[in-house]
Each structure stands twice: as structure tokens, then as C-alpha cells.
């Protein structure tokens, strides 16, 4: 075969091409190159030269000693330790892995397996500045890719590859929840918004001059709430203990009845009745119960929890405390997505204030035995951890692999104890219902979906931001209010949600009609919907945990087919394969991520048949690879580029 490559005849070139089709081992390297080349999102660490660890003024041993002590030498705190080490040293150095493993009684392979699961953790240094551009489709539509590449050019780096001097890495990351803030990025975990040409120039300059992030212009870090429509939730000012006083005055059973009568359903997306969840958990016999707030707001295009945590966190914490008082929990956790690291400081402050005011800690509001406290745990770049059982695994310091359900967390959750896991918005609503009453909530919305819903509106509209509506509002009403015209489609509930074509704009946003976790992304007629679908397909490949076959392999195959489609090479056969793979993922995956990952592809095929038809190749069958491009290596070796050395 080697001889054939050097033989300068057309037939030899063709032979070589065939050998790629049938000779598996030859094709190996080609496939690998293509895959890593198109999947930059994984941040492949091509580092060739080790760089020195940054900011090592303090002896790492001392830092680790203090860190381990602060984390009680608890193996369940592994992820929290790793997170702290990453942000201090820009990676988890080998000595730290050894030290953590021995101090926490874990194997080195276990520590490595956890590091490799989370996108924000690395075993090789990212450098003094780790810059990640948000890569949601709405960011892409605002020109994020061009700005990222321009910054790379100015700094002289390849995307995803640390600069040799250890100064900087520039890469992309899935949606950071800043879709209403212009193009945004994370620098050492902290969000920078409104990135444009001018800011890129300044950022490049700051990086070259090694100006510490703390000294960057303050306005870079400004994050607006952008609330364009308030309803009862956002208008009401609660969270100062009213709900807890109501609990102490009326008792847990009465308050649980109040929540039940309100008809409150989980705002995370599944819509499970909150009171029922709390009741089952309360009744589950155990020495300990837990309350967990899911603030891993990772669904692309969703940022309403960010706003609630910025401006209504007292209410969030009060909702958690109310739940604790009802189910009898002493400990709660707020699982905050890594992208919202900038919120941690102010949330810790609010927690401290609540302890001072007697709204948290021992004997809350003077009630003997009403003890409850909240700890903040950081996520580290794993969308799957928004699934409640994966979140619990992550909270226990492990890889975020969703558990087998049943049993459900409500009876066997954190540390195998009964656990309530609710969304930020759900806890907020619960606290407000407890203080303002059933009617205040119940007379908004529809019979099956009471109350209001916060929508995170982004994409092609004049006013991207937060809109609070009573349930039952039409899609069209939202489009009119946010200044969207000429709309081609709305992607509802994020990448895992559903694509709404104009014919369905009169449908209503409610659990019984168009359900949503809060994401509302708008695409006008000028947009290529294939770009959206491809962005989401890549997102799911990046975020699949890899546990089950259909999501791990099927998701990857689906992404490849969407890429083929995007390039105009897909045949009718490929469309049928996309439908088959998608249906298999929906029906046979282990968890909700795999079940919903093919939705954007399947929705596009179903709702936009004309568009699909335009993109189809005219051939009945097209190979999965570009035959002519595959001959490039042979052309290089033979020095030929004449017509006979090409196919077609």
C-alpha cells in the first residue's frame, strides 16, 4: 500500500482512496484529525511545552493543607477542592492530584476521572488568563466567533491552545447565561459582557501587560438585569422572613397545604407539583433530610435564575429555608453553575446577613430546634449536572452521571437521604406564596399552570432580557413585546426544547401547551436554521456524560450527519438515518439529556420540510466523507494537481 502512494499514476491515487474506505487502519488518523478539528469546543489540550504554574507565591502545600482543612477532609468535597485549585493555579497540578487522593482516601484514577469530567478543570495549565467566549447560538449570531478569532490573532494564539509563555488561553464554552448582554466571555471564571471590537483591543492589551483581572475596567464586568416586563413575582418585595414567620405561626402542615393549593409546579421544566415533592420527602423516614437548590442554569438561552440570584436571592434562600422547615432538613446546598462564579461573593454575603438576622442558622426566628444552614457548591462546566440526580452525584464530589431512577432523590437523594431538589424560580415562588397567600398566586395563569413564568428572551429582537408573564400567554405576544419582527422560528426551552414555527405562534406558554424552562430564543428570516441545529448538536456531543450508548454514540453520529447536511451533502437516506437515530435517542437513553438531545434536529425536519428539501443533495447516496478531499494527501505526496488527480 505504501508503494501505491508513491506510484505517480491516477489509478494509484484511486487505489489509495479506496484503501481509505476499506482499510480501516489507514483511515484512522484521517478520521481523528477531522473530528478534533471540528470539535474545538472540547478545548483539546495540545500543549507542547509545559508552562510554569501561575501565582505560586504561596506554597501549594500550605494552600492544599488549608483547603483540605476547610473542606473537612471530606471526599464529598473533592469537586469543591478541585475548583479552588483550578482557579488558583490555572490547572490541577500532578502533586495536587496525589495529595488530594491520599488526603481524601481516594485513588488517583478517581481524582483524574472527576477532573476529566468537568470542562472547567484541567491537568495542564491554561495560563495566567483563561478566556472563554460564550458559544451559544445567540452569541454566535452576535458575532462571538469573529471576536474570539480576532482576539486570538491579536494575542498570537490558536483557539484552545495555551500560549507558550503561559500567559493566556482563548477558547469557547457553551452558553454562559449572558445572552442578553451582547457578546460575553469568561476571564478566569468571571463574566465580561458587551464585548465588541474596542473591548477586544483593550482586553488584548491588558493580557499582554499582565494586568490582574481585579484591575480590569469595572464596566467590563457590569451585568444588567434587563427586566422588561414585571408581573407579581418581580414586583413583590419579600424574602425578609415573612414566609418563615408564616410557617412558625401556622405550622408545617398548613404551609404545605398552602403550597399545594397554590398549584405551584417545578420551574425547572418537568413541572412536578412542588407540594407533592415536599410531602413525599417529608414522609420518607430518615435521620436526615436535605434541601438542594438547582442553580445550574445551563440550558442554552436561559438566564432568569441569574437575575433572581442577583436581585432576589433573599427570596431564594427563604424558599429553601421554608422547605427545610416543612420537611425537617438541617442542611441545604445551592449548586451554582461555574459560569456564575461572579455571584458567589454576594450570595455568601446575603447568607451571612441572614444568619445575623436569625433567618438562617440555629434557632431560626428564635424557634428552638428550627436549625438550617445553606452552603454554596460550585459546578465546573457540565450541563448534565442540571439533571437532579447528576447534580447530586456532583454535589457528592463525583462525576455527574445521572443515577438510575427510581429510586428518586425525594426518597434517596444526597448521601442517599430524602432530598428535595428544586429550581431557583420554584423556591422563589414558594417563599412568595407562603407570605402573600394562595390567591395572590393562583389567580394568575391557567388552571393547570398557575402563577407566572420568567422568560429569558434572546436572539433577534429589539429588547433581549427578562419578561415575566402569567402562564397562558401566546408566543406571539412575547414576540410583539420584545420587538421581534420577521420571525422565522422560536426555540423554546433551550437546546433540549422545541422549535416553534410561525404557524404555532398562537400557541400558549403553559405546561399543558408549549412547556418551557424559561429559554426563548428568536430567529428571524435571515437566519440559517441549520446553524442553530448544528450548534445544538455539537453542544450535546460536548455535554453528553458518555454513560449510555444512544446518547454517547448516537449523539455523535447525529452531529456528523447534521454537519453533512449543513454542507449540502446529505441525501434522503441521511435524513432517514437522522430520524432513526433521533428516535432511538429519545426512546432508549438513560436520562433526559439523551432523550431530548435530538429534538432540534427532529423539529427542523418536521416543521421546515421546504428548507430541508432545499438543502438536500440531489444524489440518493453520498459517502460520509469527501472523496476528493481525501485524495489531498496523495496529491501532496505525488506533487500532482491535474484534473486526473481529482474526482469530479
Amino acid at each position: 500500500m505504501r508503494r501505491a502512494i508513491y506510484n505517480q499514476t491516477v489509478s494509484s491515487i484511486l487505489y489509495n482512496a479506496h484503501s481509505r474506505v476499506f482499510g480501516q487502519w489507514r483511515t484512522t488518523c484521517i478520521s481523528i484529525w477531522t473530528r478534533s478539528g471540528t470539535n474545538r469546543i472540547s478545548g483539546v489540550q495540545n500543549i507542547t511545552k509545559p508552562v510554569t504554574i501561575v501565582s505560586a507565591q504561596i506554597n501549594p502545600d500550605n494552600f492544599l493543607t488549608e483547603l483540605l482543612a476547610a473542606n473537612r477532609h471530606d471526599p464529598g468535597q473533592l469537586l469543591q477542592c478541585l475548583h479552588a485549585i483550578q482557579y488558583r493555579y490555572s490547572c490541577i497540578p500532578p502533586q495536587a492530584i496525589e495529595r488530594l487522593a491520599s488526603a481524601l482516601g481516594l485513588t488517583r484514577a478517581h481524582v483524574e476521572s472527576v477532573i476529566s469530567f468537568y470542562a472547567f478543570l484541567h491537568t495542564t495549565p491554561r495560563g495566567q488568563f483563561d478566556i472563554l467566549f460564550s458559544d451559544n447560538i445567540t452569541d454566535y449570531m452576535l458575532g462571538s466567533r469573529e471576536l474570539m478569532l480576532w482576539l486570538c490573532e491579536r494575542l498570537g494564539v490558536e483557539p484552545g491552545v495555551p500560549r507558550a509563555d503561559g500567559r493566556v488561553t482563548v477558547d469557547i464554552t457553551p452558553c454562559t447565561g449572558m445572552c442578553d448582554q451582547g457578546v460575553s466571555l469568561l476571564v478566569n471564571g468571571i463574566a465580561v459582557t458587551q464585548v465588541d471590537d474596542k473591548r477586544v483591543v483593550v482586553i488584548a492589551d491588558l493580557v499582554e501587560k499582565a494586568v490582574p483581572v481585579e484591575q480590569w475596567p469595572r464596566e467590563f464586568f457590569t451585568i444588567q438585569n434587563n427586566i422588561f416586563r414585571r408581573d407579581r413575582m418581580l414586583f413583590s418585595d419579600t424574602g425578609k422572613g415573612e414566609a418563615l414567620r408564616a410557617l412558625l405561626d401556622n405550622g408545617a402542615d398548613t404551609l404545605l397545604d398552602v403550597i399545594e393549593k397554590s398549584g405551584l409546579r417545578g420551574r425547572g421544566g418537568a413541572g412536578f407539583y412542588t407540594a407533592l415533592k415536599w410531602r413525599i420527602c417529608k414522609q420518607a423516614e430518615s435521620d436526615t433530610h436535605y434541601v438542594i437548590c438547582n442553580a445550574d442554569e445551563g440550558e442554552p438561552g436561559t438566564f432568569k435564575d441569574r437575575v433572581l440570584l442577583s436581585s432576589h436571592s433573599n427570596c431564594v434562600f427563604e424558599g429553601m429555608t421554608l422547605c427545610a422547615g416543612i420537611i425537617g432538613a438541617k442542611q441545604g446546598y445551592l449548586y451554582l453553575r461555574g459560569e456564575y462564579l461572579y455571584l458567589r461573593g454576594q450570595l455568601e454575603q446575603i447568607l451571612a446577613q441572614r444568619r445575623e438576622k436569625g433567618l438562617l442558622g440555629s434557632n431560626i426566628l428564635g424557634q428552638k430546634g428550627f436549625d438550617f444552614d445553606i452552603e454554596i457548591h460550585m459546578g465546573a462546566g457540565a450541563y448534565v449536572c442540571g439533571e437532579e440526580s447528576a447534580l447530586i452525584e456532583s454535589l457528592e464530589g463525583k462525576r455527574g452521571i445521572p443515577r438510575i431512577r427510581p429510586p428518586f432523590p425525594v426518597t434517596h437523594g444526597y448521601r442517599n437521604r430524602p432530598t428535595v431538589v428544586n429550581n431557583v424560580e420554584t423556591f422563589t415562588a414558594a417563599a412568595k406564596i407562603a407570605s402573600l397567600g394562595v390567591d395572590w398566586f393562583r389567580d394568575m395563569g391557567t388552571v393547570q399552570s398557575s402563577g407566572t413564568r420568567l422568560l429569558s428572551v434572546s436572539g433577534d429582537c429589539a429588547r433581549p432580557g427578562i419578561y415575566e408573564y402569567p402562564f397562558g400567554i401566546t408566543v406571539q405576544q412575547v414576540l410583539d413585546d420584545c420587538g421581534a419582527t420577521d420571525t422565522q422560528a422560536v426555540q423554546m426551552a433551550g437546546a433540549a426544547g422545541s422549535m416553534i414555527p410561525p404557524a404555532h405562534f398562537e400557541r400558549r406558554i403553559a405546561f399543558e401547551d408549549v412547556a418551557t424552562g424559561g429559554s426563548f430564543m428568536i430567529f428571524n428570516q435571515q437566519r440559517n436554521l441549520f446553524e442553530m441545529v448544528l450548534n445544538f448538536a455539537r453542544f450535546f456531543v460536548h455535554e453528553s456524560c458518555g454513560f449510555c450508548t444512544p446518547c454517547r454514540v448516537g449523539g455523535s453520529l447525529l452531529k456528523d450527519l447534521v454537519e453533512k447536511f449543513y454542507k449540502g451533502h446529505a441525501s434522503r437516506h441521511d435524513v432517514e438515518e437522522m430520524k432513526n437515530i433521533g428516535a432511538l435517542m429519545q426512546r432508549s437513553s438513560h436520562c433526559g439529556l439523551g432523550n431530548t438531545a435530538p429534538n432540534p434536529v427532529l423539529d427542523l425536519l418536521e416543521h421546515f420540510p421546504d428548507l430541508v428539501e432545499q438543502h438536500l443533495s440531489r444524489d440518493d447516496y453520498e459517502p460520509a466523507f469527501d472523496l476528493d478531499a481525501s485524495l489531498q494527501q496523495a496529491r501532496m505526496i505525488t506533487g500532482r494537481d491535474d484534473e486526473g488527480a481529482h474526482i469530479r
Binding site: 476529566s116 470542562a119 449510555c548 432508549s588
Partner: protein
């Protein structure tokens, strides 16, 4: 007293005991449900999804779903078999499975289940991953090309051998088996050929050294009878050792 009840699998009524999954009950009754990551000696895992069945219009993995009285389970419908075939095809293209050149051919559960479900071609585009072989151990070799990520070796080493030799690294399509040792190679670990973990691999990923092809092709486990009758390869490994 152990509660028992009955479920129906494709119309045949079988009994189950309290705590049984559908798979437990089926195995006891001799009702074959194709599977790869399940081994009755270990906690159910549910990752390969090959044992999916339909219950009340919904699909679930038989190895993880608890049996409930009067449950009607569909195991062999056209739709289920078609989905299983797709899952097997996915496993085949994800790794590098070259049956004609594989020492495990004929005694490989992946191959046997693929035959059983009527898989005739890999169908999907091959991934052709590059996975270096680990031949560092004196008594065993790991051919990562054939690993189907069932985690049986991880579970055996953790739960039976108490050695934690194996773990999983990476995420998504980059998930892979790793070895807990300096340098990450098997030779530097405390893995032994007598370990349970050396005898649970359903494919040819973990193979003993020094006994290649001691059983001729044609006389191997699945050469004479299908997997539905012979059962798991791991169960027969135990007979040999």
C-alpha cells in the same frame, strides 16, 4: 417471607421475587433478554441499553426496572429488536471491532448478541478511534479498541477485588477506561490474573496472555449455540478458572 408475583414477557407468564428487576426474573425463568453490561453478580448498571423493553408504552432497561405484579413486558417486538440492532451497530462503529482478527471471536458477547439480533452490517460511519494497546502486565493485555464501556471490570475490581484498579475518564464520546497506577499502565497496578476483574469482560478488551487461540474457532462458546441458550460469556469464564 419473600413476596412473589407474576409478570408477562411477550405473553409468557413468569414469577418474580421481591426486589427483582425484570432482568432478574427473566434470567431465573430462562427468558432471554439480550444484554451486555449486565452481569447478575453485580449491581445493575443500565448503560449499554441493549436490554431495553417496552412496559406500558414506555421503554426502560430490563436490568434496572423493578418488576411489579401483572406488568406486561414486550421483549421481542419489531421496534425493540430494531433499536437493539442500532445500539449494537453503534457499539461496533464506536470502537475498532475486527471480528476475523480477534482472539475473542466466537466467545464474544457483543458478537453473539449482534448475531442474535440479526445485525448484518455496522451501518453507521466508523469512528476509528486511536486507542493504544496496554500489554505491560505479565498475565493480561488490555485492547482498548474492543472496550464497550460496560464498566464490569470497574465494578468487579471495586466491589469484589477491592482494588479499584479501573476507573472511567473523560466525558461523552471521549469516555475511556483508565488504570489506577503510576503511568496509568496495567503492569504498574496491583491487578492479578486471578482477579474477578480479569474474568468479567464481555468482549475481548481484557484478555489473558499465554493462551491465545487454545480453543479453535468453530469450537468456541457461541459457535455451537446462540447466546440466548448459552448465556453470558463471563459465566463460562468462571467454569474455566
Amino acid at each position: 417471607m419473600t413476596y412473589s408475583g407474576t409478570i408477562k414477557i411477550d405473553g409468557r407468564t413468569i414469577t418474580f421475587e421481591q426486589g427483582d428487576t425484570i432482568m432478574d426474573a427473566a434470567l431465573r425463568a430462562g427468558e432471554y433478554i439480550p444484554h451486555l453490561c449486565h452481569n447478575p453478580e453485580f449491581h445493575p448498571h443500565g448503560s449499554c441499553r441493549v436490554c431495553i423493553v417496552e412496559v406500558n408504552g414506555r421503554q426502560a432497561s430490563a436490568c434496572t426496572l423493578q418488576a411489579v405484579d401483572d406488568m406486561e413486558v414486550i421483549n421481542q417486538s419489531e421496534s425493540i429488536v430494531e433499536q437493539r440492532r442500532s445500539l449494537l451497530q453503534m457499539l461496533f462503529v464506536e470502537g475498532n471491532h475486527v471480528c476475523p482478527g480477534c482472539e475473542k471471536s466466537g466467545a464474544c458477547q457483543l458478537q453473539a448478541v449482534a448475531y442474535y439480533t440479526g445485525m448484518l452490517s455496522p451501518r453507521y460511519t466508523h469512528f476509528f478511534p486511536r486507542r493504544p494497546l496496554d500489554a505491560s502486565h505479565p498475565d493480561a493485555v488490555i485492547d482498548f479498541d474492543r472496550c464497550i464501556l460496560c464498566e464490569l471490570c470497574v465494578r468487579a475490581s471495586r466491589d469484589v477485588d477491592r482494588k479499584n484498579v479501573f476507573a472511567f475518564s473523560g466525558r461523552g464520546i471521549n469516555s475511556r477506561l483508565i488504570v489506577n497506577s503510576p503511568g496509568g499502565i496495567l503492569g504498574n497496578s496491583d491487578f492479578a490474573a486471578t482477579d474477578k476483574a480479569a474474568h468479567v469482560c464481555p468482549v475481548g478488551a481484557i484478555l489473558p496472555k499465554h493462551r491465545g487461540y487454545d480453543q479453535p474457532i468453530g469450537e468456541r462458546l457461541y459457535d455451537k449455540q446462540p447466546v440466548s441458550i448459552v448465556g453470558d460469556v463471563a459465566a463460562h469464564e468462571q467454569d474455566e478458572t
